[in-house]
Symmetry: C2
DNA sequence: CAAAAATGACTGACTAGACAAGCACTAAAA
DNA sequence: TTTTAGTGCTTGTCTAGTCAGTCATTTTTG
């Protein structure tokens, strides 16, 4: 390999994509993204085969980052409710301190450009979260409900709470707590 | 006005837009929509000034239709929980029997093309729903929480439940019930 | 240790195609 | 006869992706 691709440049493109998409939406021209990243139009395509490829990789990166952040420092021996609250708080903190990433995630989640394969790969990085949720559900009022529905509901509550916090960041802490209590009322056991 | 615009044609365009957008996404060409509606390319623009205008009107129409459907036959003297359940069931039924409209709504909700004005107008048509929700909230565990957060959570739960039903329509009834019970655990009082 | 050859990342002008909207014209209503 | 809806071809703009050539970096060779 004569001249290695630089990880820096790849990251610069992904970061630029976030900044541009947040203001222009997913239809933002690749040229704009390349320019924002300080890279030539054509270079973008040496790092990402197509625009769709760029979007898929961005989605994967964001989802993984979010999952990692949410699980950071989870106390493995604490009561399940405390673990869940820790997890919830991490997630909220990440979301509120990365509003642009959150917005872009929301757009990508709904986009047709994201392939099922990417969604599955993204799901894998959430495996640990699934286990946790499974334990929570098993002894609560949702024990009979299908896991998929429970997972979607949690996701929905997270997103709703995050969205609301975005509009009133000063009371983030209180809203986060309200959200968690709602979640726990839905599926928790004690 | 010498020759009146036909309401039929307008509706044909909106209906065609739904059909086309559901398969092609919001970037679907206006030409395709016009063709699907059995109308010339240019005619579309006598009914809708721009493509964005078309999307905004479609959003408004769908949101209004959904709101109306959800409130149909609401028993005004029944217990508040029963009213809420009636409302929830209506909403679910509308969603499951109009999957394409639901999908298009989801796309429009997130789209940058929809103006704040349109969103506000759409909110107005939901006023009655707001009152109902207000009564529910007032005596439950969410009485201290801001109304906006409560509304977003309900919306999130509706959407999550709808989405899940879409993937397993055979058990729609059971899932709908599960969803409502979750909602009631969050904010109901008895 | 040159130096030159091989490699492939990088550039940005360019192309081919798509699309929203305009327009000149025709048909229908009043 | 006037006015406006309706038509579908045309136009100007925009954009994803290409490509011929350049240049930084590594590898080979005398």
């Amino acid at each position: 390999m004569a001249r290695p691709k630089s990880e820096d440049k790849r990251n610069a493109i992904l970061a630029a994509a976030i900044r541009v998409i947040v203001t222009q939406g997913l239809s933002a021209p690749t040229a704009t993204i390349a320019h924002e990243a300080g890279v030539a139009n054509g270079s973008l395509f040496t790092y990402f085969k197509t625009k769709a490829d760029l979007l898929n990789q961005l989605y994967l990166e964001l989802k993984t980052e979010m999952g990692t952040a949410a699980l950071a420092g989870l106390p493995p021996d604490a009561a399940i409710r405390d673990q869940m609250f820790h997890f919830w708080s991490n997630w909220m903190r990440w979301a509120t301190s990365n509003p642009e990433k959150r917005r872009v995630m929301a757009q990508l989640t709904v986009s047709e450009e994201i392939t099922p394969e990417t969604r599955i790969a993204a799901g894998k990085s959430m495996a640990r979260i699934g286990e946790l949720l499974e334990q929570v559900r098993a002894y609560g009022p949702m024990s009979e409900a299908p896991m998929g529905l429970v997972a979607q509901m949690m996701d929905a509550l997270v997103t709703a709470t995050e969205n609301y916090i975005l509009g009133d960041p000063d009371n983030a802490e209180a809203h986060s707590r309200t959200g968690f209590e709602a979640l726990w009322r839905i599926m928790g056991s004690a």
